[in-house]
Amino acid sequence: MSEEPKVEIPTFDMVRTLGLVSVICGVIIVGVFEFTLPAVNANKKLALERQAFKVLPTAKTVVTYFATPSGIVAAAAGQEIPPAGGMTFYAVYDATNNLTGIAAEGSSAGYADQVRVLYAYDVAKQAITGLGVISMRETPGIGDKIYTDQEYLKNFVALDVRLNADMTALANAVKTVKHGTKTDPWQIDAIAGATVTTKAVGRGINESAQKLLPMLVPHIDQLRKPS
């Protein structure tokens, strides 16, 4: 009986090659990341300002803050992720550096994907006074009515989001109701035929405001001037 030829396993070659490929790829990724980071950050800031200016037309400056259970902190340059339990919001100032409003993001699952909106919160009125869409993939001609239907946008002229007496939650949850049945200022009148998308907007705003406003409103005086 003949002995089978011994197959040499190139263990060292395999480790060396994988190491070499990893080093080359690592250098390429880190290099490109460092090179594109300033442009990416500038684009994000521009996109945010564009949205903030849409919901708060008198805006001139936007400053990113984090609301946390222990108070409000300004975001460091390039810092995007809020501390644990915290939430990102944007303090918006006019040309004379007076606080003109707060902008915050709400997000919920729509018909096709997440519907992400930016809403403006008016401190004096304790109400939502503007709505902009950050991103959505809803049915064209139907879901996109949330930013084209002027009747629907009237819901956000003064949507009541005042806090309860002990400032732990909204006094009344924001709710989307069937088209034509709105009776209270904290309700959103749905668009007939686009109920899923309009409900997603209402849910996103409610979840965001329920979490953000109890952390933000007790410390609002800190934001009167930009930090």
């Binding site: 396993i9 190139p10 070659d13 395999m14 090659t17 994988l18 070499l20 490929v21 990893s22 080359i24 790829c25 390429i28 990724i29 490109v32 990341f33 594109t36 442009a39 990416v40 684009n43 994000k44 521009l46 996109a47 991103s135 993939r137 049915t139 064209p140 001609g141 139907i142």
Partner: protein
Amino acid sequence: MSAPKNFDEFMDGLWKQNPIFVMVLGMCPTLAVTVSAVNSISMGLATTFVLAASCLLVSLLRHAIPKQVRIASYIVIIATFVTVVDYAIAAISLDLYEALGAYIKLIVANCVLLGRAEAHAARNPPIPATLNAFGMGLGFTLGLLMIGGVREILGAGKFFGFSLFSDHFQPWVVMVLPPGGFFVLGAWLIVFAAFKHASNKRNAGLQGVSS
């Protein structure tokens, strides 16, 4: 390698082995992002860059990569260039980045890329490997544009964002919805099959005459 051979390498992917209409590969981005011509051309060019760059690197390292770890190496190389293109698009335009969404990252799972690395780049020198990948990428871009262009014209009455019709035009919304992708792809596949059938018939006729 001679210039005509290089040209053949390039034309192979662009037309004769078009990844969408002939090989029917990479259907995920083909159906998902082709709602407009801009999205289509952007996704196509991003894929072309990843294809050409990864095939070049695979070809350069082909003698150093043992066959036991080749797939792992190819995937790491492809993922690297997908990350590069992901950062680049975010730096160029956030609107485009949002429009293409997760599909930029999903280029890494596009079978055209691993297929080219394994079947061609790993067996050929850098120039033909890159030319073949470049042709294949442009073929993919052409395919996406042919689908995206038709969907945008019929679904929105526009081409590259420019309105083509009067206000009386009623867009076929279905064309920018997922079923529209299948309709247009199916229609183009019929056209390509008809061309191929006619060409085969002509060639058979010519052979009959010569014999």
